[in-house]
């Protein structure tokens, strides 16, 4: 870990302002991913601004019946919140499927959204990686890529986003509240927060220097069946190979509403509105699930070891839709 200047911020606005004017700044809250990366010197900040004591740890009802989640609400507190358990089961389930009890006690809502990839090559400084070292190349494309993306990648990067929480939030249509250094606040749909790698995989979000995520807003609950299904290499404490967050409403035996997002498949939590449109108004059937998977995976590209994710995504989607529409969970 490189030596850094440690500072504490008194307010979100002050934190943003401090960050706007310094080079190589990182906010730290839970630290569970940042310190991991700093020890390996994959992250080498000059300045670390401690935001962990800012008053951003509340979960509040919003006027339109939704929920505002402070950026510093821990994953544990969010999963244990009675409203989340009752109205946003998919989110609670996603949180509980992630990491471990200890990590969830530290990891925060804001930090979870900004987790960096677990790509093997990103994690090894001796390897080429366009995300870590722009222009150095992508060693995963023709390397060990069992855990890598089949959707949304580019010839420069096929790293996946590791979050479970963000997948559920994506399905729920969450938006992100941001404090800018100029004192203003802005709101971005979560789907707008992330960038696909293209030829700039080191740029992962639309946040600008100094921008600080202060909270996440969930729209009012939509009802229906909520499922988060995570498929991984061991029973717990592992990142998703494929995960599906689903919020499905049935009306008269037909699908009335469908909100779906996917983890483990892409550089960002993946949502596809064509897939949802194709489901709405239809009668549940294995054929429909197949059509949905066709839409989801139309542009899917395997890179060798991760080819299986195409079949796995197809099977997991069908299984989740079946369960959501009345079958077994």
């Amino acid at each position: 870990m490189k030596a850094f200047d440690y500072q504490r911020a008194d307010s979100a606005q002050a934190a943003a302002a401090m960050a706007a004017n310094a080079q190589g700044v990182r906010f730290i809250a839970g630290g569970t991913n940042l310190l991991d990366l700093m020890k390996l010197e994959i992250e080498r900040p000059e300045t670390v601004i401690d935001i962990s004591r800012l008053p951003l740890d509340a979960i509040e009802d919003t006027e339109d019946g939704g929920l505002r989640i402070g950026a510093l609400v821990t994953n544990s507190d969010l999963a244990a919140d009675a409203r989340v358990r009752r109205d946003y089961e998919v989110l609670a389930r996603a949180l509980l499927s992630g990491a471990s009890g200890q990590l969830r006690n530290k990891a925060t809502t804001g930090g979870n959204l900004l987790q960096r990839t677990r790509c093997f090559y990103f994690y090894n400084r001796a390897m080429p990686c366009n995300k870590r070292e722009p222009g150095s190349g992508c060693a995963a494309l023709e390397g060990r890529n069992r855990i890598h993306a089949i959707l949304g990648g580019s010839e420069h990067c096929i790293a996946t986003h590791p979050s479970d929480m963000a997948v559920a939030m994506m399905a729920l249509g969450a938006s992100v509240e941001i404090q800018s250094p100029d004192g203003k606040t802005k709101t971005l749909a979560l789907s707008e927060l992330y960038r696909l790698p293209g030829d700039t995989p080191h740029l992962e979000t639309e946040l600008e220097q100094g921008d600080l995520i202060t909270g996440v807003v969930l729209p009012a609950p939509v009802g229906g069946r909520q499922i988060y299904r995570k498929v991984r290499d061991r029973a717990s404490y592992a990142f998703a190979l494929v995960s599906v967050a689903a919020v499905i409403g049935l009306e008269d035996g037909k699908i009335g509403s469908a909100q779906l997002a996917f983890g483990g498949l892409a550089p960002m939590p993946w949502r596809n509105s064509d897939l949802e449109d194709a489901l709405i108004g239809q009668t549940p059937s294995p054929e429909l699930w197949g059509r949905a998977a066709d839409i989801l995976l139309a542009d899917a590209k395997g890179h060798g070891e991760n080819d299986f994710k195409i079949a796995l995504a197809r099977r997991t989607l069908a299984h989740v839709l079946d369960a959501a529409c009345g079958g077994e969970k």
Binding site: A3, Y6, G31, D36, G101, L103, A235, S236
Partner: protein, 168 residues
């Protein structure tokens, strides 16, 4: 950088490199080597301590972020002759072998029982809103952040189950 915090009921004032992890502070500066370093990246749980009563990986936290906090380590839970119920149960059920992951397991289990009592659900809870029961499956899932390569898992589950009120 100056820091004041309480560890196992004793207040300590320290001057630390900001890079010092909470774990290294405990082991190298306070000689509390009960908290173990198995991976230093939050991937094994051997460093688990209680931060204001909650279990965390002390390797993934900067000491300087804990001004005024209360930390409890395995040394603070009990010692020979006055072991905590979980410590005693780990001995009776052979919930360890080499002993290296053990302090982390016990700190983790200590807080975990509180989480269950507080009604926190887990990944394997059938229903998120009901009071969770301390079944073997619940214990195993909730303790999965603590690796044990000697693989004492069945005995760890037995020990925790006993302290948590017996098999459900």
């Amino acid at each position: 950088m100056h820091l004041t915090l309480t560890v196992n009921g004793t207040e300590h004032a320290l001057d630390l490199d900001p890079r010092t992890s909470l774990l290294d502070m405990l082991r190298d500066h306070l000689d509390l080597t009960g908290s173990k370093k198995g991976c230093d990246h939050g991937q094994c749980g051997a460093c688990t301590v209680l931060l204001n009563g909650r279990r965390i990986n002390s390797c993934l936290s900067l000491a300087v972020m804990h001004e005024g906090d209360e930390i409890t380590t395995i040394e603070g839970l009990g010692e020979e002759g006055k072991l905590s119920p979980l410590q005693a149960a780990f001995v009776a059920h052979d919930g360890y072998q080499c002993g290296y992951c053990t302090p982390g397991q016990i700190c983790s289990a200590t807080a975990m029982l509180g989480e269950v009592e507080a009604g926190w659900p887990s990944h394997v809870s059938d229903n998120l809103e009901d009071q969770p029961q301390l079944t073997d499956a619940e214990i195993s899932e909730r303790m999965s952040g603590n690796l044990c390569r000697c693989s004492a898992y069945p005995n760890i589950v037995d020990a925790i189950s006993e302290v948590g009120g017996g098999r459900k």
